[in-house]
Amino acid sequence: MNIPENLRYSKDHEWVLIDGEIAIIGITDHAQNSLGDIVYVDLPKVGDHFNAHDACGSVESVKAVSEVFTPVSGEVIEVNETLNDSPEVVNKDPYGAAWMVKLKIKDAAEINSLMTAEEYREYLNNNT
C-alpha cells in the first residue's frame, strides 16, 4: 500500500498536503482500493466553509457512495474540476492528479491531530 511520507492522514482515509496556509485534500490509496472503480466524484463549491470532520464531498464507486470528510477546517479556494469528467484518476493517481479540494486553513493546530505516514500505516495494520 502506497503511503507517502510527506502527507498527513485522517482516520477516514483522507490525506492532507500542507502548503503554507493551504491544505490540499484527497483520499488515500487504501481508500480508492477499498472502494473499487470510482465512477463519480462530487465536490464542494469554491467559497464553502467547512469544520474539521464535515463531509465536503462524496465519491461513488461501482459498489457504494462514500462521503469525503475534510480533516481540517477552512474555506474552499479551489476544487479539482478534472475529476468531473475523469473520475478514474482517483484510482490511478490518488495522491497526485486526483487531489480533490484546496482549503485555506482556519486552525493550523488541527494539523497536529492528524496521523503521520508511519501512524497511518500502523492504523491500517490494526484496522483492516
Binding site: 477499498s34 473499487g36 472503480d37 465512477v39 463519480y40 461513488e60 461501482v62 459498489k63 457504494a64 473520475p87 478514474e88 483492516t128
Partner: protein, 504 residues
C-alpha cells in the same frame, strides 16, 4: 462433417429490437375501408401532428416481437428456477395458491370507487390482515397504505414526527440511525424533515450502547430507526435497554421490519419496546418481489401513535366494515386509494395457509437454514462477527483477497455454479461483505449444493485465482465492465451508434 458451436443464432445472442428492424416490415394489417375516407387534416390538425419520420423506430412483425421477448424471458433467473440467497431481501417462494386467490373475480374486478356496501368482502379482508399483522408484531394499530418498504419507513417516521409535535408542542429534529442500517433509513428520515446522526456498531456487530447514550445526551432526540435482527444478521439482544435509552431521552423507536422473517411467530417487536414498525409483505409474507411486485409496506404502531395513522382507516361496526376519514390528527393519505390491494390478498392467504404454528415453523426453518450454511462455511470464509446468526449469515472475502479474489469475483463465479449470487458489499460496516439469506424455502439438498459450490470457489481461489477473477464463464455474456458503464453510460439506442459499430 463437424458441428460447430453456434454463437450467432438469436437463441444464443439476442440483438436489440431496434437492430432487428427491417424497412417496411409491419406487424398488423387493416381491414378494407368500409366507410367514406376523410382527409387527415380534418381529423388531426397539422400543428398537432408529429412530422419527423421516427428514424430508428423498429419496424418488425408480430412474430419478431414475440420471439424477441420470449427468448429474452428465458434468460431470466427467478425464484421459480432456484435458490436466490440475496441477504436482506428474503427471496422466499411465492406460493401458487396465493396467486389463485388473488385472481378471484370478485377481487380483480372490484373498482376502487364502488360504495362501501359493495366492497364488504375486500374491506373485511383488509381488516383481517390488519388484525393478523397487529398480533404478529404486538402493535395494535395498522395501516396497509404504504406501497413498499421505504414508503413504510417514511410513514413510520412521519407518525413519530406528528406524535412528538402534538405531545411537545414543538418539533424534535434528530433521528438516530445505526451505521449498519439499510440506506433507505437515513433517506426516509431526511425526507420526513429529520437530521440524521449515526450510531456506531461494536466489534460484535451490535449497536454501540455507550455511543447511543452519548448521542441521546446531546438532546433533541426524535427517535431511533433500528433493524432487528440487524443487517449483519445478528439479533440486537439489548433491544429492551436500547428502547429504554431512547424513550428516556424523549424519543420513539421505529423498527425496520426488513428482517422480520427471523421473528414472525417467535418474538414480537411490540413486546420489546418498539413503538412503530413497517413490514415488507413482499419479503416476509411471500408476495412477489423484485420485478414481479408491486410490494406493500404496512405500518404497525402503538396505541399512542394510532391517532396519527393515515386515512381512510378501515373500521368495523358490528358486522359492517367502513372507511373512516374522521381522524383529525392523521398525517393524511399517503397512497392513492387504499394501498396495493392485490398484495394484501396474497399476504393474508400466506398467513392463513400457515396458521400460527406454521408461521413459527417457517421462521425456525429460515434461521436453521442460515445457521447450517454458517456452520459449514465458517472455516472456509471469514465470519466477521462470531455471534450466532439469525435468518442470514455474513461472511467477507478476507481469506480469498490474499490471492486477489474479491467478493465481486466470488459472486460472479457462483453464477457458473447455477446460483443467484448473494447480496454483496452490504452491510457497509465490513469490507467485502457477502450476506447470504437462504430463507425457509430451500431444503437440505439445495443448501448442501450451495455450500459445495462456495467451498469449490474457495478452493479455486486458492489454486487458480484467475479462473474466479475472470468469471462468469458459462453465461452468454462474460463479466460486464460496470465501471465504464457508470462513467460513460449509453442510455438509449441511436441509429448512429449502430452505424458506427458496423463500420468499426
Amino acid at each position: 462433417m463437424s458441428i460447430k458451436k453456434v454463437r450467432q443464432h438469436p437463441t444464443q445472442n439476442e440483438s436489440l429490437i431496434f437492430e432487428r428492424s427491417q424497412k417496411g416490415r409491419i406487424g398488423y394489417s387493416l381491414p378494407k375501408l368500409d366507410v367514406e375516407s376523410k382527409n387527415l387534416d380534418e381529423i388531426i390538425p397539422v400543428d398537432l401532428r408529429r412530422d419527423d419520420d421516427l428514424e430508428g423506430f423498429p419496424e418488425v412483425s408480430e412474430v419478431d416481437v414475440v420471439r424477441h421477448f420470449t427468448r429474452m424471458s428465458t434468460w431470466n433467473y427467478s425464484i421459480d428456477l432456484g435458490m436466490y440467497p440475496l441477504g436482506s431481501c428474503t427471496m422466499k417462494y411465492n406460493s401458487r395458491l396465493n396467486e389463485k386467490v388473488a385472481r378471484i373475480a370478485g377481487f380483480i374486478n372490484l373498482h376502487p370507487l364502488v360504495p362501501e356496501e359493495e366492497a364488504q368482502g375486500a374491506l373485511e379482508l383488509m381488516y383481517e390482515l390488519q388484525q393478523n399483522l397487529a398480533e404478529i408484531t404486538g402493535l395494535p394499530a395498522v395501516t396497509l397504505q404504504p406501497a413498499a418498504g421505504a414508503h413504510g419507513e417514511l410513514t413510520g417516521v412521519l407518525l413519530i414526527r406528528a406524535f412528538l409535535e402534538k405531545r411537545d408542542g414543538k418539533a424534535r429534529r434528530t433521528m438516530l440511525v445505526p451505521d449498519s442500517a439499510h440506506g433507505t433509513n437515513p433517506a426516509s428520515a431526511q425526507m420526513a424533515g429529520f437530521t440524521v446522526k449515526t450510531v456506531k456498531s461494536t466489534s460484535q456487530g451490535l449497536t454501540d450502547i455507550e455511543h447511543l447514550k452519548a448521542l441521546c445526551k446531546e438532546g433533541d432526540i426524535a427517535g431511533l430507526m433500528l433493524t432487528n435482527p440487524n443487517t449483519a444478521g445478528i439479533f440486537e439482544k439489548n433491544i429492551k435497554e436500547i428502547c429504554k435509552i431512547v424513550h428516556d431521552a424523549g424519543g420513539l423507536v421505529y423498527m425496520d421490519g426488513a428482517n422480520m422473517n427471523a421473528l414472525v411467530g417467535v418474538a414480537r417487536p411490540g413486546d420489546m419496546g418498539v413503538d412503530v414498525i413497517h413490514l415488507n409483505l413482499h419479503k416476509t409474507f411471500s408476495t412477489p418481489h423484485g420485478g414481479g411486485g408491486p410490494g406493500a409496506g404496512p405500518c404497525c404502531c402503538s396505541a399512542e401513535l394510532e391517532p396519527f395513522l393515515p386515512v381512510p382507516r378501515i373500521v368495523k361496526e358490528v358486522d359492517r366494515f367502513k372507511l373512516d376519514f374522521n381522524y383529525p390528527d392523521s398525517i393524511g393519505r399517503i397512497k392513492a386509494f387504499y394501498g396495493n390491494f392485490g398484495v394484501m390478498i396474497r399476504a393474508l392467504a400466506y398467513i392463513y395457509t400457515h396458521g400460527a404454528d406454521g408461521l413459527r415453523e417457517a421462521t425456525e426453518a429460515a434461521v436453521l437454514n442460515a445457521r447450517y450454511i454458517s456452520y459449514h462455511l465458517e472455516d472456509t470464509f471469514e465470519k466477521p462477527f462470531k455471534s450466532d446468526c439469525m435468518h442470514e449469515v455474513l461472511f467477507t472475502h478476507k481469506k480469498q483477497a490474499r490471492k486477489g479474489v474479491h467478493t465481486i469475483d466470488i459472486a460472479k463465479r457462483l453464477i457458473d455454479y447455477g446460483f443467484h449470487p448473494m447480496t454483496i458489499y452490504f452491510p457497509l460496516i465490513v469490507e467485502g461483505a457477502m450476506l447470504i439469506e437462504p430463507t425457509e424455502s430451500v431444503g437440505r439438498q439445495d443448501l448442501d449444493a450451495f455450500i459445495e459450490a462456495m467451498k469449490a470457489i474457495a478452493k479455486e481461489a486458492e489454486e487458480n485465482p484467475q479462473l474466479v477473477i475472470d468469471a462468469p464463464h458459462s453465461t452468454r455474456i462474460g463479466r460486464l465492465d460496470e465501471a465504464t458503464a457508470a462513467r460513460k453510460p449509453i442510455l438509449r439506442w441511436k441509429p448512429e451508434i449502430e452505424a458506427a459499430s458496423k463500420t468499426a
